[in-house]
């Protein structure tokens, strides 16, 4: 293919994927409200839209009450008055929501959604992604994760409000601290697959999921929660202390963009976790029917998102010193130790130094 064709295809695939995930964001927020309500013994949003099921002799049954709630929310956000605080820094105040949303969307670029597949007569090889075959895919994700902090920090600073600045400062320290644990835990699948390409990492899980490295998987999950500022790491928007933290001065669709970036990040990090540790698009019969890959990765992603919501309903928020102690004194040493042990094992295995006994044990674990 010529470069122009490659670019056009990437645009087309990107359009479809981003639209799908934006729909996913809308229903992710609905899912969160519904699930949180259920966890707390409430019903949740159930007014906007339903599927009428006619019943003989009685009033019709209302199924799936509230399915149109995301649409109603979107309309509300779009038609709200677009306020800018008088003392805010106009340029950066406008820029900040975009800086939050753009990295969250860009991460979708390298996630493989299916294996080698033919759709409408065009072959997607080596796998189906917006930008397949990037040999630094993992680094791309890490760099976007590190860029993501700007949106929050700039929102906090430009609003010219004490609460917002405090939220922004809290986030900076938190994200810089947890990035290290995130990076170290990501390196484990990289070492086991011997590649930085996400598609090759998925293919390397043919013999078994990398979840055998469950310590790395848990560290990754916790670190992503901290990177997204999801509960229990949501100190930056602690209602009781900072009202809404960095976004206290934002309203309308500008607030909507922060809201969107949070759910987009939830979906993409969850998809990345599925890719790195749970076999990505791989599952039964996926070699004969590659289209099943879409279902598998979407299902795995959904499980990850539900897990995040569940944790929000369960755990109380960390105190700031607990957050820092946990990040630096528990998470980082554990993932560093895990990293060194895994690297040593893989090296011993490759060099053929290990005896037959250890070799068989390794075969059992590493595959």
């Amino acid at each position: 293919m010529t470069p122009v064709q490659i670019a056009l295809r990437a645009l087309l695939v990107g359009f479809v994927v981003v639209l799908t995930v934006i729909t996913g964001f809308a229903y992710g927020s609905f899912l969160e409200r519904k699930l949180l309500a259920r966890f707390q013994g409430r019903i949740g949003p159930n007014r906007a839209g339903y599927l009428p099921i006619p019943q003989r002799g009685r009033k019709e049954r209302k199924l799936l009450g509230g399915v149109l709630q995301p649409a109603a929310d979107a309309v509300k956000l779009f038609f709200k008055e677009d306020l800018t605080p008088t003392k805010a820094d106009k340029w950066i105040y406008t820029l900040a929501p975009m800086m939050a949303a753009i990295p969250a969307i860009m991460i979708l670029g390298v996630i493989p959604w299916a294996g080698k597949i033919t759709i409408f007569g065009s072959l997607f090889s080596p796998y189906f992604a917006i930008a397949p075959g990037i040999n630094v895919g993992i680094l791309f994700i890490l760099s976007l994760a590190s860029i993501g902090v700007y949106g929050v920090v700039l929102a906090g600073w430009s609003s010219n409000s004490k609460y917002a600045v405090l939220g922004g400062i809290r986030t900076t320290a938190q994200m810089v601290s947890y990035e290290l644990a995130l990076g170290l835990s990501v390196l484990i699948p990289v070492m086991m697959a011997n590649s930085l390409d996400l598609g090759e990492i998925v293919e390397a899980q043919r013999g078994g999921w990398f979840f055998v490295q469950f310590i790395a998987a848990f560290v990754f999950f916790i670190a992503t929660l901290a990177e997204m500022q999801r509960s229990p790491f949501d100190l930056l928007e602690a209602e009781q202390e900072l009202s809404a933290g960095y976004m206290v001065e934002y309203g309308g669709m500008r607030f909507g963009m922060f809201f969107m970036s949070e759910y987009m990040a939830m979906i993409s990090y969850s998809a990345i976790m599925a890719t790195l540790f749970f076999g990505g698009y791989r599952g039964p019969f996926v070699d004969t029917y590659p289209a099943l890959g879409f279902l598998y990765i979407l299902g795995k992603t959904l499980i990850g998102v539900v897990l995040m919501i569940w944790i929000r309903a369960t755990l109380p928020r960390f105190r700031y010193d607990q957050l820092m102690n946990f990040g630096w004194k528990s998470l980082l040493p554990i993932s560093a130790l895990n990293f060194i042990l895994t690297a040593t094992f893989i090296l011993l295995k490759e060099e053929g130094i290990v005896g037959p006994f250890i070799d068989s044990v390794l075969k059992f674990f590493v595959g």
Partner: protein
Amino acid sequence: MGNPILFLILAAVAVIAAVMMVRSRNAIYSALFLVLNFVTIAVLYLILNAPFIAMVQITVYAGAIMVLFLFVIMLLGAEKLQGFEESSKGQLWIAAFLAVVLIATFAVALIQGDPSSSGAVAGLDSSPSNLGLHLFKAYVFPFELTGVLLLAAMIGVVVLSRNSAKRGKDA
């Protein structure tokens, strides 16, 4: 070196961002222009077929170092430099002179250099695995030396912060 038009656009953005970084009176704006400059340079690395360097550039410089800069600026509240004048009047002229010297050096290097050797750089295998092999085989000693240097800096910070904490307790 890919598309010359693309390169010119990126170069213009990088230079303008650098100039704006020096000229703007607000430290936050300066930091943001520097971030823009770093990101543009990263894209230039991508054009030069060096994706690993590009990603590391964004992660380390734009993602870690500049975030800490912003953190410090916000904590100190030092973003506004009101009534700030150039510390020395001759600074601008010295800077202009040095810039001319630098450009002249570049020009001499470009004219006298062997243009055929630049093709060798573009043809290199710059994949992460090849880069890693070079780093840990040919350049392992400088690499480890850098590690020791960073460790020394880290220990220095720990020692300094320990001392100040103890002094605070005594007082």
